[in-house]
Symmetry: D2
């Protein structure tokens, strides 16, 4: 069958016929409908993600960790015709967190990741999978359901942040989070998804970028009720209870963010900065301690987060239909191989989420 | 303006002109669009809820605790034209839980409840309110958004149950609640809302009644993926991790439920039984202890739960549109006063939720 | 070697020579110093605990689940001469809670219990054990350290109660539990241990019995700062935020306790009632719901609770030295076989904790 | 009466007669028995703590935030002759955390601190106080009970760290924290108290300093079972699940610590670094995110933590009597005014805790 393959850690990407890898433990047979492309895919394709590895004993890796498929042969839980999305990171089988279905907190580092680490991804016509790694996709949101994969990471992050803030009374006098002011740095896929989710959680949400918002972004901010902050000249003295770094720009952003945290405030680091350093002098450290601040590294959503992502996409479909639809900025047919290779190699101008149509 | 009034604790209900009570602290002016009727309203009307009381110094109480209105004069947060729903129970102002916006856990018992205890309700043309007691209603779900009031109680209940179960690892090996089997006793408004919410949380959900499901119920169960159990002859040996009593029938149900709880299982008591007793012999108590079971009394959702209710109604609007719409079984115009009085006095055959249209 | 054996589920108890069962997985060799006797042991001896079972393939079971020993052959963690106490309930190996070291929340019911269910106990001269089931005993508290086994159950119970109460803000305005009033029903071993622990947690603690306190009890209550309530005529209108049933008398106590719970209050059921029933009419159930009460079954402490028990015994050794010492009411030498059999068969008058000296 | 006063933010310290400030709200009259000296006191005395302020309308501030006194006039809870310790930070009265007795998480920054910010301290012969700010001191631990003030900060810190780690399953397969490896940087008062408390919590604990341990330290490490690490050449490749910075040396320590954190590990920042900066390049930030690490600023224990500190000191009195006694390295009589001034101005060689005897 047709598949998109890479040869990690080298650069390059190929569309070619591969043998069905079988996935012998996978009781559910799934035909791929679409796959999403994210920054990690491009890093792999361009040979810049050095930790990428093929399945044991092979040289090639099938790419892709964002996918929607349709069940062709099911089991008791998943039936023919069900739309499904696979969970991408899978357990090491050894540590307690993995045994409890939470390889996002794997302690051994021996988890595998579809399309990235030791496990084939989903950019292929078919795959077999185990029910425990599959999540149902509500047909009503299929158009933008591919967002559920990055959203799962965001769901897990917000869950984690709320646990960390649970060290104090973080609810406001009306019992909600209405008095809490959050800043999301970055307006890419995860930045926007964070903004939507934190707004859904009831916070006052700001998003920032180092430029003015584009027209379609302004519309989304208006629809959802987000505040925009052009951070090209800093945060203008605003301070926040929660800041999420989702820009993946420079490490220096960390320092700027820390200086804008309120007492008991938390900084969530989600994206990987690509350059530079951040530094904090001893006074900055003192302030961090005195303000009882926290920083937390945010990685990987698991099955409960994929499920919650589907619920939230379904809700947003009702209340912010334009916002979720705006985020699918391009669809490429797998038959247009040249274009597929192109979008895998480099970012499309104005892109939020690009997906490949396998039907 | 026109209002529906009662004279607690006596029986009787009148539609009459009342003076605008003013609600001097209410900065937001709201025009009522619709109000829902629930069992508590009928108990008040029929003089069977002895704890009902009018506002201090008055003899009449305006009825109604489920309402949707439109803002006519707003403030910074709520603007003209916004659809809003009021939170019905309000704090005592003294205990810590009330200060933290959680009069559902009021310790003094001095909270007030709109349309029930010392505070006028919303069955009137206008009311003024404070922003902290108002929740925005997404226009997309207005048709059935009145369900958000009972759903808020259900949201709070599920939150509480999950906290109680947090005493052990209750997540399953896939990190979700997929291995947990829940039974909801009763197929009225709250029974159905519990079933939808527990399904959304990822459990295997059963609903029971002492009769076969009606045709429209069977359709809802099918759409949502609920299992039905005719309990006229018991639970057929099934056992559950969670049982919610939402039938409000006889206290004897409590005993039946306890005997069907699995190890570490929890019984949530939501509805008020109307008759009989339940008893447990010393062996039953021993079993309860050995199985590490829990029972918890479930009351009253607050503002965070109303917000979550709106999110879930918005999601269900996408994924189970028929289920939520089926639950609005009758709409009566406030101009049809005879019919309003009738539906306030007695249950409509086949009723789930009846609402009064004030427009 | 010498051991105390029973032939479950039949009545009877024998002191006899047995072959060293080997315990092949036990890397640590321990010489028994002393073993405690509790009500469960007597139920087994008198053939009244029907669930008791010998190890697979055997007819006899070595009795005893409360023990202190000295290491004769150690490993990296436990060294020759270390005093140790074994954890008595051990995991099923299948469910997540057991995998996480918490067979107190075993889901399969296939855990084993030393001296009670499918595993030999510690009333023998030697045993071998795995380090993960052993807890160090501080030499300073050896005199009464046998209390750590029942105290571990109590530690787990209080941890569980605090989690359940975590559904609301249960801390008081000074951040402690000083405004919370607890009642412990029963003044046996576990009743007293609950009282000491709840006092240590900062609550106002009452203990009750259906008679006036004995002289030594009165001294303990005075030393610790406990209030006593003679419940032969009820609770005199007192109400409580927490009630723990630790009397193991009649099931009727449950009903009395429920009617004395404050709003949001919790009833913990620890002991097994021996007779009668309790019943609650529909009004009682309504009150339970309206007050947002909870009932929770409390079983079995695990290794973290044994560790915490050692810390608390060490603290009480400093602050309430008389109380902890008063609780060891009799020591019988294993060489006095007639007396050992006697104390295993029936309760000693005025007894709190009786132990057998194996040295 | 005699008092130790400073004139913040200027340098200098005086022992002089002052008028009894009255403390009109303080229903309990307390005679000071002893006061402890910590680094903050010396910073104030030497004019290096710029945020120090006298009570409103005054120029002088009575110093001292670590004290033990005896009640001379009590109330219902505290009686004549009771030993008490005051809580030093007190609420702003406005934010929810302060209303809940937790000014350690004050959101306004308007809390006051005895002997440091807008409230007189306890280096005086008498003070009056409110029961809610007083904690009972067990007579058995009076000799070293002054440690309960810094220990309260440490108790709060460990509570906070455990909440933050609660985002994953942090318990080990035996249900305890036995598989978790902690490093405490620094062997001063708080460093040692952290080490004792983390050991009590069941972890494998390492302490580090940039020199070899002194003889008495080595004895304490031996008694408690602590591992020592001479960090003058780094951490020798060791990695940790928890690192607490309690050295207050240079900010650069933060970077070293981060690079030694295991997956899901947490760095607690307790002490104020006095010089230098730390920096992290973009790869370091990536590693922090991928490892799901966290950093948390740790400040101020409140009344529940003082109570827990008393429990732990009482336990350590039994199990590590030498360790706790070793930490009181000097006692100066208040009558030896020259020596009092001297120890307030500069650190005593080999000092852990110096206290002033007011009797």
């Amino acid at each position: 069958m047709k598949a998109v393959v890479v040869k990690p850690p080298g650069a390059g990407v190929w569309i070619k016929e591969v043998q069905d890898p079988g996935d012998p433990q996978g009781r559910v047979r799934i035909r791929t409908l679409e796959t999403g492309i994210c920054g990690t895919d491009r890093e792999i394709v361009n040979g810049r993600r050095l930790t990428t590895s093929p399945p044991p004993g092979r040289e090639e890796l099938i790419l892709g960790h964002e996918a929607i498929g349709v069940v062709e042969e099911g089991d008791g839980i998943f039936r023919e015709g069900d739309l499904v999305m696979p969970v991408n990171r899978r357990p090491c089988g050894k540590c307690l967190n993995c045994k409890a279905g939470r390889p996002d907190y794997c302690e051994t580092g021996q988890f595998v990741q579809a399309g990235a680490n030791s496990l084939d991804g989903f950019m292929r016509e078919y795959w077999n999978d185990e029910p425990k790694y599959l999540v149902k996709v509500p047909p009503a949101v299929r158009e933008f359901a591919i967002l559920a994969q990055p959203l799962a990471d965001v769901e897990k992050s917000v869950e984690e942040i709320l646990t960390v803030q649970g060290r104090l009374i973080w609810n406001c006098e009306d019992g909600t989070l209405s008095c809490r002011k959050a800043l999301v740095i970055g307006t890419g896929t995860t930045g926007l998804l964070f903004a939507l989710l934190l707004k859904t959680e009831g916070m006052e949400v700001w998003v920032s970028n180092r430029r003015e918002p584009r027209e379609w972004e302004a519309k989304v901010f208006q629809e959802v009720g987000l505040n925009f902050l052009n951070s090209s000249k800093g945060y203008g003295g605003e301070s926040f209870d929660l800041i999420v770094e989702a820009s993946g720009s420079t490490a220096a952003v960390v320092g700027e963010a820390l200086s804008s945290l309120r007492r008991n405030g938390v900084l969530g680091l989600f994206s990987f900065p690509r350059e530079e350093s951040f530094s904090l002098d001893h006074r900055g450290v003192q302030t961090f301690v005195m303000r009882a601040n926290a920083i937390v590294g945010l990685v990987n959503g698991q099955k409960p987060h994929f499920q919650r992502a589907m619920v939230h996409l379904s809700a947003w479909n009702s209340i912010w239909p334009n916002a979720v639809r705006s985020m699918i900025t391009k669809v490429v047919s797998v038959r247009d191989e040249g274009e597929v290779i192109r979008v895998l190699r480099e970012k499309v101008r104005g892109e939020i989420k690009v997906k490949i149509d396998w039907t």
